[in-house]
């Protein structure tokens, strides 16, 4: 295989990794700060994609950029509504109850999506500026792929700044460490939880929005993405954003390489990757034992 085609494959892997990172980062933050494994996170991703398709089909292709902002914000609002109505009631309950609650929300949102958008799959056209490919030597890279990778990097940087330099970020990190202590120090933990969950939903929605032009948008998106997202989060270690980045790259690479080498076994690779990682490091690459 030539260097160019390898490079193209790598870019494809990084694109997958990028989108997975955006989604997984939200999932892992919610888990880290609130100890909730949110199955409905996949629903938020799907809603992001659907919202983009609705906005673009209503207002034309130029509205894509607007939709990249609007869709995540709408999804974030939806997330906060879910948090206030459902999640608040299960914080004190056991893990199974919490899992079932988020699974129930997943089911409800899935059904509402069919009602609202119908069962037909949709497509979102790539915006003109970002369509086409860039030539570098003998290889051609889809421009949109580069955009996705760039967006993921921007999100990564933004989260890093948020967690390191802002009050909200510090509070989130403190909650990941010890939320009881946080409450004792006077922080409004309820509000913090709502905001963290909203942030998670925002990221999921943005992930769905960014990836919308790359795939057909249908009502199976939520189930498909949530498993991959959980695998990334577990490989990276629950609660670690850096872990989500590394996990996303591992999964992205495995998926790309898997399709190259043995297409019929490709979907199995990510599960194998997770099993292997957990055998070596039972709490994930960057995770700590107390998280689980």
């Amino acid at each position: 295989m030539s260097v160019e085609s390898l490079a193209v494959e790598l870019l494809s892997a990084m694109t997958t990794a990028g989108s997975l990172f955006i989604i997984a980062a939200g999932l892992t933050l919610v888990f880290g700060a609130m100890r909730i494994a949110n199955i409905a996170h996949g629903s938020f991703y799907m809603y992001g994609a659907f919202l983009v398709s609705t906005i673009v089909s209503s207002f034309g292709g130029g509205a894509f950029w607007v939709s990249l902002v609007a869709a995540p914000l709408i999804v974030a609002t939806l997330g906060m509504v879910v948090e206030v109505t459902v999640l608040r009631r299960v914080y004190d309950k056991d893990h199974l109850t919490q899992l079932l609650a988020t699974y129930a929300v997943f089911l409800i949102l899935a059904d509402l999506a069919i009602r609202f958008w119908g069962a037909q799959s949709r497509a979102v056209p790539t915006p003109a500026i970002l369509s086409g490919s860039m030539r570098l030597g003998a290889a051609s890279f889809p421009v949109y792929d580069l955009f996705v990778v760039g967006a993921a990097a921007a999100i990564g940087l933004g989260l890093w700044i948020l967690l390191r330099f802002t009050l909200l970020g510090w509070r989130i990190l403190a909650a990941v460490e010890d939320s009881e202590m946080l409450a004792a120090k006077g922080t409004n933990v309820r509000l913090l939880y709502t905001m963290v969950f909203g942030l998670g939903a925002l990221l999921a929605g943005f992930g769905g929005a960014v990836v919308a032009p790359l795939q057909s948008i249908d009502t199976g998106l939520d189930a498909n993405i949530i498993v991959a997202a959980f695998i990334v989060v577990v490989i990276g270690g629950l609660g670690s954003v850096a872990g989500a980045a590394v996990g996303a790259m591992i999964v992205g690479l495995f998926q790309a390489l898997g399709i190259l080498w043995t297409p019929s076994w490709a979907p199995a690779y990510i599960y194998l990757a997770m099993i292997v990682v957990l055998e070596i490091r039972p709490s994930g690459l960057f995770g700590t034992a107390e998280m689980a």
Binding site: H95, L96, V105, D111, R115, V227, V234, Y271, E279
Partner: protein
């Protein structure tokens, strides 16, 4: 080192050695124990044996008393009644109903087997469908590739389930809680992927249809009775396991892993055994599914299928042995009805599950706990099943 013998409390002994006497004593105890225990709390200020101590102040425990496990004769009686009811039903109900109830019976066993892990063992596995599907695929593949007769494959299903559960459990049981749930899910998805992709072996996404099932079982009446009795026998066996020393140890592990370990229990081995048992019985349920449907397809292995027994046990009540079976009945019947008339099955299911986890943590069975009915289904405590 012999413990010193203290005065004999023979009123609390279960009875003489002769079986008849023992059985009678069991019945007497089972009948009496609830009423007495339910009525009294520990008397305040009761003296404590041993050297003289100052007056006992009023902070003796007035704790919640618990009923004892059912005697085996009760369970056998329930089984007999159930078999009789099934026989009557097979004569009375229409073939459509009988076929549907076959499916329910298989799912009920699947749910009860899953509850051994989740309710009794405290191990939430999101990959039990792997074994259910494997059971079905065992029979289907044996028929497809080797034209194997039905009965040997049918009997082999628990073995297949046990072996695969053993392999998965060795890996998955080193982790805890969420990691465990996701690992078991990953293994199930692995099996699903293999089933879907390996077209040559498994017929891929289409699945295997028209599996040969003995003609006598194809008759709705006979088929239903057989499946029901087979599932009921399997559940009786499972019940026996829950009231055995192993069941007690498993519950203790669920309650406090570290303490169980410090008392001398090899926790990993016991959890692995529970995992293997759940896998074996789930695979058997998958074999029963083949009698109902004569087909095996990848969706039987999918993680969303793994969610079904979990819903059933939450719906029916995971605190009692038969709760999940009741949940399976309600779930499946509602599913059929709702899917035919509305399109919003997921919405209904989501809302119901939400309602249950928020307001009715003991499931349907818990609804009866206010009345005397509780003795027939549930154990009267907060959560976590105890034998019954």
């Amino acid at each position: 080192m012999e413990p010193t013998r203290l005065p004999d409390n023979s009123s609390q002994r279960p009875g003489p050695e002769r079986r008849y006497g023992a059985a009678r004593a069991w019945l007497a105890r089972a009948a009496s124990v609830n009423w007495e225990m339910a009525r009294d709390a520990a008397p305040v200020g009761a003296p404590v044996r041993g050297p003289a101590i100052p007056e006992a102040p009023a902070h003796r425990s007035a704790g919640a008393p618990m009923a004892e496990a059912w005697p085996t004769t009760y369970a056998l009686a329930v089984f007999a009644v159930g078999a009789l009811a099934a026989f009557v039903a097979s004569r009375v109900l229409s073939p459509v109903w009988l076929l549907e109830l076959q499916h329910v019976a298989a799912l009920a066993l699947f749910a009860v087997a899953t509850n051994l892990l989740v309710g009794y063992g405290g191990l939430v596995s999101f990959g039990q469908a792997a074994y259910y599907g494997l059971g079905a695929y065992t029979i289907a593949l044996a028929w497809l590739h080797f034209k194997a007769p039905f009965w040997p494959s049918f009997i082999a299903t628990p073995l297949v389930g046990a072996v695969s559960a053993f392999a998965v459990g060795l890996v998955a049981l080193r982790t805890r809680k969420l990691y465990f749930a996701l690992l078991t899910l990953a293994f199930a998805q692995l099996f699903y992927t293999v089933a879907q992709q390996q077209y040559d072996i498994t017929n891929g996404a289409t699945g295997i249809f028209g599996v040969a099932v003995p003609a006598v079982l194809m008759d709705p009446q006979v088929g239903f009775f057989f499946v029901f009795v087979a599932a009921a026998l399997a559940m009786l066996l499972l019940w026996k396991i829950t009231v055995s020393p192993f069941g007690l140890t498993l519950r203790a592990i669920r309650e406090n892993r570290a303490r169980a370990q410090s008392v001398g229990v090899n926790v990993f081995r016991h959890e692995l055994l529970a995992f293997v048992l759940a896998g074996a019985f789930s695979a058997f349920a998958g074999g029963l599914f083949i009698i109902h449907d004569q087909s095996a397809y990848p969706e039987l292995l999918d993680w969303t299928k793994s969610g079904e027994p979990i819903f059933m046990l939450v719906l029916g009540g995971m605190n009692s042995f038969l709760g999940p079976a009741l949940g399976a009945l309600v779930y499946q019947i509602s599913h059929e009805i709702i899917v035919q008339h509305l399109k919003d099955w997921q919405l209904v299911l989501g809302l119901v599950v939400l309602a249950i986890v928020l307001f009715m943590p003991d499931g349907i069975v818990g609804l009866f706990s206010a009345k005397r009915w509780r003795r027939w289904f549930a154990r009267p405590q907060a959560s976590g099943p105890n034998p019954g």
